[in-house]
């Protein structure tokens, strides 16, 4: 017994042809767009910007080297301070005060309960006529998250998301800067890019207090909802945050001696 082909066979062939034509048209369109954007990027890199990019990369490498040397020098200073010389009780008192001051200043690795937050740009397509910035993590978002964390009782905070792989997280200290430079956000002048990871150590309940804090709810939570910024947070029983690596010297002032 033979089966007859269905009568729509010929129409189906035409359908195939149309599909392939549309497909090839799409390939052409997307391919051209891709080619154009590659050309544009190539032009940018080969222009004067290339010089600036190389300068920035060179300075970043220098900074990493300086930070490593600073960490090593700090360690040596601490090892001298921890030796028991002169009056033992005076030395012990001084060491205890130094340890306390270092802990408060952010110059010591710390461990404790806390939370982890990750925030990244929205993956939604930006509607025509709407600013792309609405769909990106902005410097204000990071500042609000950090502000809400401090106000919720955080005792130590780090931010990571570096351009350089395996770069240590930036520990926030009294003079830490957070500023936007185009697509990057400078934290302690280290350029970071999303996804940003924020870790904070603080007393129990920090996560809940953060999520209900007005400083978080006022802008960040609304932007997450409205534009689809990727946001996740999780309480942790134990986190270890690295120390601040940088200079602690005062350039324009001196400590006032206690009377």
């Amino acid at each position: 017994m033979t089966r007859r082909l269905p009568p729509r066979r010929r129409l189906s062939r035409r359908g195939w042809a149309v599909s392939v034509a549309v497909g090839l048209g799409l390939i052409g369109f997307v391919g051209a767009a891709q080619w154009n954007s590659s050309l544009a990027r190539q032009q940018v890199i080969t222009s004067a910007q290339g010089v600036l990019v190389r300068q920035a990369e060179q300075l970043q490498r220098e900074q990493e080297q300086l930070r490593a040397e600073l960490a090593e020098a700090e360690e040596r200073v601490q090892s001298f301070q921890e030796r028991d010389e002169g009056s033992q009780s005076a030395q012990q008192r001084l060491n205890a005060e130094l340890a306390e001051a270092r802990l408060i200043a952010g110059l010591t690795d710390v461990i404790g309960p806390g939370l982890v937050i990750e925030i990244a740009d929205s993956q939604r397509q930006v509607p025509v006529g709407e600013p792309q910035a609405n769909y990106l993590v902005l410097v204000d978002d990071l500042r609000d998250i950090i502000g809400a964390l401090w106000a919720s009782g955080a005792e130590a905070i780090t931010i990571s998301g570096s351009l350089a792989e395996n770069a240590p997280a930036e520990r926030l200290v009294a003079n830490s800067s957070i500023q936007g430079v185009g697509a990057a956000i400078l934290v302690n002048t280290a350029p970071l890019v999303p996804p940003y990871r924020i870790e904070a150590v603080g007393p129990a309940g920090l996560h809940d207090r953060f999520l209900s804090h007005p400083t978080y709810l006022a802008r960040v939570a609304r932007r997450v909802e409205a534009y689809g910024l990727q946001f996740a947070s999780e309480a942790r029983d134990e986190l270890t945050l690295n120390e601040f690596v940088g200079t602690t010297r005062l350039r324009w002032g001196v400590p006032v001696r206690e009377e």
Binding site: G50, L66, L103, A174
Partner: protein, 223 residues
């Protein structure tokens, strides 16, 4: 047989479209490389990195000098207490536990601020390299943040009122220029809220130590 060929062709076309679309979407996604920043942004980044590296280099030189002093005292058999005391002063001042005296600016401010605007002002001073900052007599530490308290803006639990003064130890010219640059924080705030700013440069200012107990309750030093 022909139907199979057509199906395979169409599948191949679909795969190629998919690959190209992914490439295109990725190239339209947010640039994550330095090369994607504009010349102006790169200039700002280069300048920030340069300033920071000079600062780190100076800090490293200070530490090496300190190490040399320790080594010399070791050789002479002298006590290291004096250097340790100096280190304690420096770290305490950095953390906000000790008052700082030096040159800088004083900014008298009046206006209908919200907490974010106050925090933005503080960040602008930090970004401009201020060594120490106080709002009225409240020393700004790492953990200080302006929030809306019961009817007023508070920092570290202290209300600051509608008129307040910010004192910053730092380069007087550098801090003033950063605050007043075109498109800078003061211009933005004056456009968005009713505010008045009077900046005075000074060679002799003092920022007090924090009155807040900063000893952590949950965070412990890693041994």
């Amino acid at each position: 047989m022909r139907a199979w060929v057509a199906q395979i062709s169409l599948s191949l076309v679909a795969v190629v479209i998919g690959v190209l679309l992914v490439g295109q979407l990725r190239s339209q996604a947010r640039p994550l490389e330095l090369s994607s920043l504009s010349a102006q942004e790169l200039s700002t980044l280069v300048e920030s990195l340069r300033v920071r590296n000079v600062d780190l280099g100076d800090g490293l030189a200070d530490l090496r000098e300190q190490i040399r002093e320790y080594e010399l005292r070791d050789v002479d058999g002298q006590s290291n207490l004096a250097i340790g005391e100096e280190d304690l002063e420096r770290i305490s001042a950095f953390a906000g536990l000790r008052a700082v005296r030096g040159q800088g600016i004083e900014m008298e401010i009046e206006g209908s601020f919200d907490p974010q605007a106050v925090n933005d002002l503080i960040y602008e001073l930090r970004n401009s390299g201020a060594d120490a900052i106080a709002v009225n007599d409240i020393r700004i530490t790492a953990r200080s943040v302006a929030v809306l308290g019961t009817g007023a803006i508070e920092i570290d639990g202290v209300p600051i009122g509608r008129s307040f003064t910010i004192t910053a130890i730092g380069s007087p010219d550098g801090l003033e220029a950063a605050l007043q640059r075109p498109g800078g924080i003061l211009v933005l705030l004056q456009q968005s809220i009713e505010a008045r700013f009077v900046i005075t440069k000074s060679q002799e200012l003092e920022v007090p130590a924090t009155e807040r107990d900063l000893a952590p309750q949950a965070a412990r030093a890693v041994e």
